[in-house]
Amino acid sequence: MLFEPLTAADLQLMHDVTLKILSETGAVIEGEEAREILFSSGCREEGNRLLFPPRLVEDCLADPASVTLYGLDDTNILPLTEAPRSYAHNFGSVSVLLDPQNDIIREATLDDLVSFIRISDSLPYLDMVVPSLRPVDLPEEIASLAMTAYTLQNTLKPVDIGTASDRWEVRYLIRLAAAVRGGLEPLKEKPMGTISISPLSPLNFPADISEAIIESASSGLPITMLPCPTRGLTAPLTLAGGLVQQNAEQLAFLTLARLVNKDTPLVYTCRLAAANMRTGFVGGKDPDLGFSGACVAQLARYYGLPSGVYGMDTGSVLPDLQSGYERAINCLYPVLAGATFISGMGLLNGGLLASAEQLVIDDEIYGMVTHRQGGLEVSEDTIGADVVKAVMNGGNFLAQEHTRNYLRKGELYTGRLGNDSPFEEWRSSGCRTVRDAAKERMEKILSDHPGVVIEQSVCREIDAILEEAKIDKKGS
C-alpha cells in the first residue's frame, strides 16, 4: 500500500514532456569524450546544446540493472531494486556544526567527522553512512577523498563512496573502496556504496562532470545520479515543472552512463527544493520537500529504478520543535511513497549545519515513521479473538501468551529517547528533554564504539593512496 500522488496519466505526460525537452531544447554537454559518444548514438547539436532523440533515451531506459549494496561484514545488505522498505542515511559534506556541548556554531574538525561516522555506524535505523562532515583540518586538495577514507575505516554499514566532481576523484574514490573490499573485482561484485555525481541545473553537464560519469560507468560500479535543482532559481517554480526538469536531467545522465556501459546500475536521486523567494536561500522548511520526494520516488519506480530523496531537513538552526515537525512531515511523505533512500539525518538549517544530537533524534523519528511501513498483518492470530474470549472468561490481557509473543515480535514501537513517563516521575528524574537524552545516547555510543573497524594493513594502504593522491594533485 503506497502513497502515490501522481496518476498514471500524470506520469505519462511527465515522461512525454521530458522526452520533448530532451529532443527539442536539449542539454549542455561538455567534454569531447561524452560528446563523441552521444553524437555517434544519434544526438545532434543545436546552438550550444545536444538534442537527444526520444528513441535513444527510451532504448537506454530499457532493462535497468538491479542494485544491491553490501556492508563490510555481510550483515548489512541493502537490496535497492525492489527494496522491502525505505532506507535512511545521514547528510554529506557539511563543514559547520552545532557543538552539542554549548550550542556554539563552529567549523568541523577531523575528530568531529570520526565521531559522526561512529554514531551513524551505531544507530539502528540509519542504513547507509555518508561521508558527513568536511573538516577544516584536512588538506584541501584531497579533502573529499580523505572524508571517504575516514568513513570507510569507521563503519561496517553500506556507505556512500563519495561525491565526485571530476574523473580524478572517481579514480581515487574507487581505489579507496577497492582497498577496503580487497580488490576491484570483489568491489564490483559486492559494492558497499555508490558514487554520487551532480550535474548542474538546468540541464548542464560540464566537462568534469561528464568525464566523472564516463569514468564511473566504465568501472561498472553503481552511480547515484544527483541533480539538485532549486524551484524558482534553477528550475521552474511549479512543483510539476521542477519534477519534469530534474527528470530530463536524470534521463540525460542515464543515457550517457548506459551508452558507456549498458550494465551501469543507477540510483535515481534528486534534491528538489524551493528557495525562499525573498532571499534566495534554500531553507529546507517547505512541506513540498517531502511531497516532491514522494513524486520522485514514483517517477523512479516508473523507470524501474531505485530512488533517493530529501526527507529530514529543516530551516531551524537548533534541534528544536521547528526542526522536529519540519523533518517529521518531510520524512513521512517519501516513506509512505516507498522511496528507497531518505536523506538528511543530522542536518539542520537547510543543509548548512550538522548536529550530532539531531542525528540521534532522527534515528528516533525514522524509527517511528517506518514502524508500520510494511503495512498491518491482519490474520486470525493477530486479531486474537481467542484472547478476548479468555479475558472475558475471567483472564487478564497481561497474562496472555499472545500479549507476550506479539510484544516480543515488536508489535509496539518502544521509543528510545522521548519522554513517556508521568510528569511526577519526569520531574523527579531531572526534567530531561529529548536533547538531554540524545546527548547522553551520543556519548554512550561513542564510548561503546569499537573504533577503527578495518585491519591495520588496509588502513596503511588507504593512507598510501591518500598520500599518492596529494602528490598527484600537486603535480597536476
Binding site: 559547520v96 573529499s144 532559481l233 525573498r278
Partner: protein
C-alpha cells in the same frame, strides 16, 4: 507630459519590459532628456520596487523583472547617453564579480549582477570557475573599485581566501574593496579571510557595495 514619466515608473514597478520600452520611446519622442527619463522615470520606479521589497510585499521575481525592465531601458538610452556615461559610472562604481575556481554556480551571482546594473553600477562579470589570477587581471584592466567573490559550495569557499591572498601579494589589496557572498558563508568567515564585507543576499549586497563606496 508628466504622465509619461509616471508610466515609465509604473511599468518598471510592474516589471513589464516591453511596456517600459514603449514609454521610454514615447518620452524620447516627446522631447524628454534621456537622463531625466532615467532619474525621474526608471529610477523612481525602481526605488518603489525597493520599498515594496523591504515592506515584504515584493519577492525576488518582482525585483528581477523590474531590474530587467530597467536595464533594457538603459540599453535603449545608452546611445543618447555617451557623454554622461563616464560621469554616471564614476559615481556608481566599477565592480568586478565572479564565482571562484572549481565552482560553476551562477544564479546567486547573476541576481547580484542584475541588481547592481539596475543601481547604475558598471559590472564586469567574469562568470563562473574564475581563477584567482583572472580576478586580479580583471581588477587591473578595469580599474575596479569593488571586487565581488561568490562561492556556493563548502568545497570551494576556500578559493575566496586565495583570491584575497593574491590581491595582497600583488599589492592591490588597498586599491579595491572586497565583498564575498554564498550560502555557506558568514560574517565570521568574511572577517577571517580578510574581506571588507559579506552579504547574505543580493539586496544586502547592493547596499553593502554602496556603503563600501560611501555612496549610501
Amino acid at each position: 507630459m508628466e504622465h509619461i514619466l509616471q508610466n515609465i515608473a509604473s511599468s518598471v514597478l510592474d516589471g513589464k519590459k516591453s511596456e517600459t520600452l514603449d514609454w521610454v520611446n514615447k518620452g524620447l519622442e516627446a522631447g524628454f532628456k534621456p537622463l531625466d527619463l532615467i532619474t525621474l522615470g526608471l529610477t523612481a520606479g525602481l526605488d518603489q520596487v525597493g520599498q515594496k521589497f523591504e515592506q515584504g510585499e515584493y519577492y525576488l521575481p518582482d525585483m528581477m523583472l523590474a531590474a530587467e525592465a530597467m536595464s533594457g531601458a538603459i540599453d535603449l538610452l545608452e546611445p543618447y547617453l555617451e557623454a554622461d556615461k563616464a560621469a554616471r559610472v564614476e559615481e556608481a562604481g566599477r565592480i568586478v564579480i565572479g564565482t571562484v575556481k572549481g565552482d560553476l554556480h551562477s544564479i546567486g551571482k547573476d541576481i547580484v549582477v542584475m541588481m547592481m546594473k539596475a543601481a547604475g553600477m558598471e559590472i564586469f562579470d567574469l562568470g563562473v570557475d574564475v581563477s584567482a589570477e583572472r580576478f586580479i587581471l580583471a581588477i587591473e584592466e578595469n580599474r575596479a573599485d569593488v571586487l565581488g567573490i561568490s562561492a556556493l559550495m563548502t568545497t570551494t569557499i576556500g578559493e575566496q581566501k586565495k583570491v584575497i591572498d593574491l590581491l595582497v601579494e600583488n599589492g592591490l589589496r588597498d586599491r579595491v574593496k572586497v565583498i564575498v557572498g554564498g550560502a555557506p558563508l558568514s560574517e565570521e568567515w568574511a572577517r577571517k579571510i580578510g574581506a571588507d564585507a559579506y552579504a547574505a543576499d543580493a539586496i544586502a549586497g547592493v547596499k553593502k557595495v554602496k556603503a563600501l563606496l560611501s555612496l549610501a
